[in-house]
Symmetry: C2
Subunit: 352 residues, 2 copies
């Protein structure tokens, strides 16, 4: 029997409750598709600070590297916000990304027909949107040295090497080949030297993908175009900080910020997580929406080449939504029945 070692990082806030539901669904499809999942849990973020005084313990890195894939909930909360920077949950996540070599963050912005009214954009603007953001995740200004702060000045360095740009560009073009064959590379080449190199290298990588149409767009224009006409995009390729901004904007545009998954890949092992945060204000109340995490689990199965199990999950979610079941966050829009976190997980597991 095919066997996969899955690292589980529940994290903080609603993390534990939503990851539990994803496991429920994973178990359901594994038994139906005849493979086995072995789970090992690791700590990250606030949960890790509480136990190890370290938001990203070595054990978590080692354990993750020993897994076939890692499923992750969310981190952070007011409890850890006033700690010094290196102890804060976010630092733990950044360290994990870097240690696992997760240089590519992939965020599909999917429209759920049932929830098309949840967007603040007009239905006709967003109906049919199908775009994905490919964000560089272990370089750029997030990790650039030197970085410095005293009372009178502070600086950070935005830096990219040719190799870093080439490998993320390659991921974006591969993604486009599986989709609508268009890449929009986003930069600020009219101002930044980094972006000039970015553009050059992306052009070169594009030569290996003659079927894919490449366009370049300035980041300010991209932020506008996402609002004006999101349908024009297929794959958006960009650096770490621009990707941070644009992928959040894109998810709000499709109106399903609570429903979107992401994959961070590139190293030996991939990390799969919902794009939403740890929502400490609603933790433990059984009202969190587990769908983004369950969809992240589906992306994980895709990457493990268990694509038919992944499809099962996606179809199950569509059916459950079609039948009118909603968690509280998406209940305003034509709910037949409002269900709890755990009920939603069970419904999807049953339909899978």
């Amino acid at each position: 029997m095919r066997n996969y070692k899955i690292g589980i990082i529940k994290g903080d806030g609603i993390g534990p409750e939503i990851v539990e539901e994803a496991i429920k669904v994973l178990d359901a499809v594994a038994s139906k598709e005849g493979f086995n999942l072995e789970y090992n849990e690791y700590l990250l973020g606030g949960a890790a600070v509480d136990v190890f005084d370290n938001p990203c313990p070595d054990e978590t890195i080692k354990g993750s590297l020993n897994s076939d894939a890692v499923l992750f909930g969310a981190i952070g909360g007011p409890k850890w916000e006033s700690l010094p920077k290196e102890k804060r949950p976010e630092s733990g996540l950044l360290k994990l990304r870097k240690s696992l070599g997760l240089f590519a963050n992939i965020r599909p912005a999917i429209i759920f027909d049932e929830l098309v009214n949840a967007s603040s954009l007009k239905p006709e603007v967003i109906k049919g949107v199908d775009l994905t953001v490919v964000r560089e995740l272990t370089g750029g200004i997030y990790f650039g040295e030197p970085r410095y702060k005293d009372d009178n000045k502070a600086y950070n360095t935005m830096i990219y090497t040719r190799d870093e740009i080439a490998r993320i560009a390659k991921i974006a073009f591969e993604e486009a080949m599986k989709r609508k064959k268009k890449v929009t590379s986003v930069d600020k080449a009219n101002v930044l030297e980094v972006s000039e190199l970015w553009r050059e290298v992306v052009e070169e990588v594009a030569k290996n993908y003659p079927e894919v149409e490449l366009e370049h767009m300035y980041v300010d224009n991209a932020a506008m175009q996402l609002v004006r006409d999101p349908k024009q995009f297929d794959v958006i390729l960009t650096g770490n900080i621009f990707g941070d901004i644009l992928s959040d904007e894109a998810s709000m545009i499709v109106g399903s910020i609570g429903l979107l998954p992401s994959a961070s890949i590139g190293g030996k092992v991939g990390l799969f997580e919902p794009i939403h945060g740890s929502a400490p204000d609603i933790a433990g109340q059984g009202i969190a929406n587990p769908i983004a995490t369950i969809l992240s689990a589906a992306m994980m199965l895709d990457f493990l080449n268990e694509t038919s199990a992944a499809e099962r999950i996606r179809n199950a979610i569509k059916e459950v939504l079609k039948e009118g079941y909603r968690t509280k966050d998406i209940a305003a829009f034509d709910a037949k029945e409002v269900v709890t976190t755990s009920e939603m997980g069970s419904l999807i597991a049953d339909h899978a």
Copy 2:
């Protein structure tokens, strides 16, 4: 008689035609309000490259510094895109901003009730939006040293000093005092040292404005919140690159990208310009919308303390729109009559 020396920079593309209309309107209100405007024209961008082989000639800087205010159209176009960076129109604009000490860019995102349907957001989401972006304009990663590029790596430096942050923060709080008394300072303090200092200094400046509510928001969240609920904002205060991105996003959200003005201030003389670009594809056809430039002229009059003349202009624009006159770009939405660039200018001048 009150006399003002106005620098005129028409620029490229539709720049000349729209600035002409703004001058028409300025002349109309000047004679009604009893002051005099003396115009001197300077070259910038592609127009300056063509004549002086320099996108920002010394004469333009000197002439601007000798003016009471500068009215500017737009620059750029395909003709100059393949020139080396220092000869490109954008470099000219950046040099002018720096030379004039224009450290504050103010961009109100106004909703025109007549055009509420022009936004891709739902009318109920944007009706009543009234926000302004205060963007730092002569620091940050745009101007930070060292900056470097070779074939294998490239970097830029995002840097801010305490003084640079304090002076732009002060502008934002002053702006808020004239408005709804709320400042949202946008940064990425969970990752960047620069943003940590930014937050500290903004907190300090806030102490002098006890009536103003201050909140901090991460830039990724701000990009989402602008789409989700733009009404929550009053003044958005942010650095150069984040401001570049968010102000363009905000203008698209209110649906009137072709209608919005901006002011760049802080030095001896202010620069007033529409936020849209030079639109080379429609230059010379008489279809460009001059309203953003005319509103920029109104902002200019405000800064010269000719507020009643400025109000005249704004009211005239509202009336002309109410009467159903539209340039082609905004004609899709209930136009009574589609008019040319020059007809629109004349209509506004007549109503002012």
